[in-house]
Symmetry: C2
Subunit: 255 residues, 2 copies
DNA sequence: GCCTAGGTCCCGTGA
DNA sequence: TCACGGGGCCTAGGC
């Protein structure tokens, strides 16, 4: 399966430049393991002094520069930027330019351990489960997950202040605003919910606001009480039991 | 500089496993270009079907799985997780386990284009400029950037509701809360500022709230007016002129 | 451990 | 294009 892939060990700057051109032209993924320094200017600015890093250019022309530690790239450029490969003061210079916002990453490369152009054939589907959207679908189809007698009115409703996750009525006919959180509800979540509820309460003081989440932070709970909102414990895991995704593939739980 | 680095082209699963052990033992960075499928279970769940990807394990035991497009890894594990390399149903299985929260990534690898263990010697300093912190330092040393006569009281003050960027007094002695934003101030920023101001206004209705940012969104401006808060235009670029970083290295501007 | 806030956040969605 | 909210966000800093 090497097909159009090429790997060079300890290439010269010229060989690496040629490989980069080859990868960019053929929409292959390029990797360089190299000694480099990096300048970035754009929304912010940064300077990375000389050291050995991994430089990755993907076929969608995104750029990642990774150090030997850390989840995050030290410098990067999102997909779609333009690359210029040149030579400058004895170094191989790779410039990645993003149009909007205007941002420039300059990589000065002195020597290389490895350079590779890889053809990665990848059509595999990716599916994510246990998201906030899953919780929403579960509640819409099983309103009792919020409380007995709860009935959603519309799936979502746009208000001047933003969006409501779920709007409904309780068994007594009171308007209920439900805000879903996949993880612990914090103060921001309460404030968000309160914006909606406050707006609706103006014409109707009986409007209820319920935050449905696995748990709630201490300070969020204090705020919740002060604003006369309610908390309903609801986890993505419980919701997943009420929601069929894909071809009904059951979700495995952590063991 | 190859030193302890090793590169294998089209290795067998057994050779790749050996290389992974070697990299993990010697705290080298490991790269695999391989056909794989990936399961993730933890805070959420995901399934990635078979396809060719780049798998990176860093010396701090972080894991990145990159497809041939996109800035973000499709699956990952932050630093510090535990790796188990084994063989399962004809595949090389790499399992990365995170303790807290408990999360598991399973990578099933069928065949490999490339496997490398790289020793990346990297001691280069990284410095970032034009951050919110830079704006703060600039304002603390040059309070007139907010307005004539402004005087910071303390650098930062913790309130029951959170943190204040800068607290000070104006030329008439009124308390002033300043919230800094590096980019356009949105409604969330206004709400955040209002939380502090509202708290302080209870004992002192003359308290002012100023949001200092390059610009402000339309809806944030409306909210600002309604809450009797103020906007002061201030850019990170202007602030950078009043702040010396490192050895006084001047910041280049975009040209 | 929890909680808060920032980020060159990225990314999708909708106006 | 801007604006807004979600994310397995990650990461740093307090407590």
């Amino acid at each position: 399966m090497l097909s159009r892939s090429k790997v060079l060990i300890k290439p010269s700057q010229e060989q690496a430049a040629e490989l980069l051109h080859y990868a960019l032209q053929n929409q292959l993924l390029a990797i360089l393991a190299c000694n480099c320094k990096v300048d970035y200017h754009g929304r912010a600015s940064s300077r990375l002094e000389w050291g050995e890093r991994l430089v990755i250019i993907k076929r969608d022309r995104s750029l990642l520069i990774h150090r030997n530690t850390g989840y995050e790239p030290v410098n990067w450029q999102p997909p779609g930027c333009l690359f210029h490969v040149s030579f400058s003061e004895g170094n191989l210079l790779v410039r990645a330019v993003r149009k909007s916002p205007h941002e420039v990453v300059d990589i000065f490369i002195s020597d290389l351990q490895l350079a590779a152009a890889l053809e990665l054939s990848d059509y595999g589907a990716f599916a994510m489960y246990l998201t906030e959207e899953d919780m929403k679908q579960a509640v819409l189809k099983n309103p009792f997950l919020i409380e007995e007698g709860f009935q959603p009115i519309t799936e979502e409703r746009s208000l001047p202040t933003g969006f409501v996750d779920i709007l409904g009525r309780d068994s007594k006919g009171n308007l209920v605003v439900v805000e879903l959180k996949r993880e612990s509800a914090d103060r921001e979540a309460i404030i968000q919910l309160y914006r909606y509820v406050e707006h609706l309460r103006k014409g109707n003081p009986s409007v209820r606001g319920i935050i449905a989440a696995p748990k709630i932070t201490k300070s969020a709970h204090i705020l919740l009480k002060a604003l006369k909102l309610e908390f309903k414990q609801l986890t993505p895991e419980v919701c997943s039991k009420y929601v069929k995704r894909g071809e009904g593939e059951p979700l495995k739980s952590l063991t």
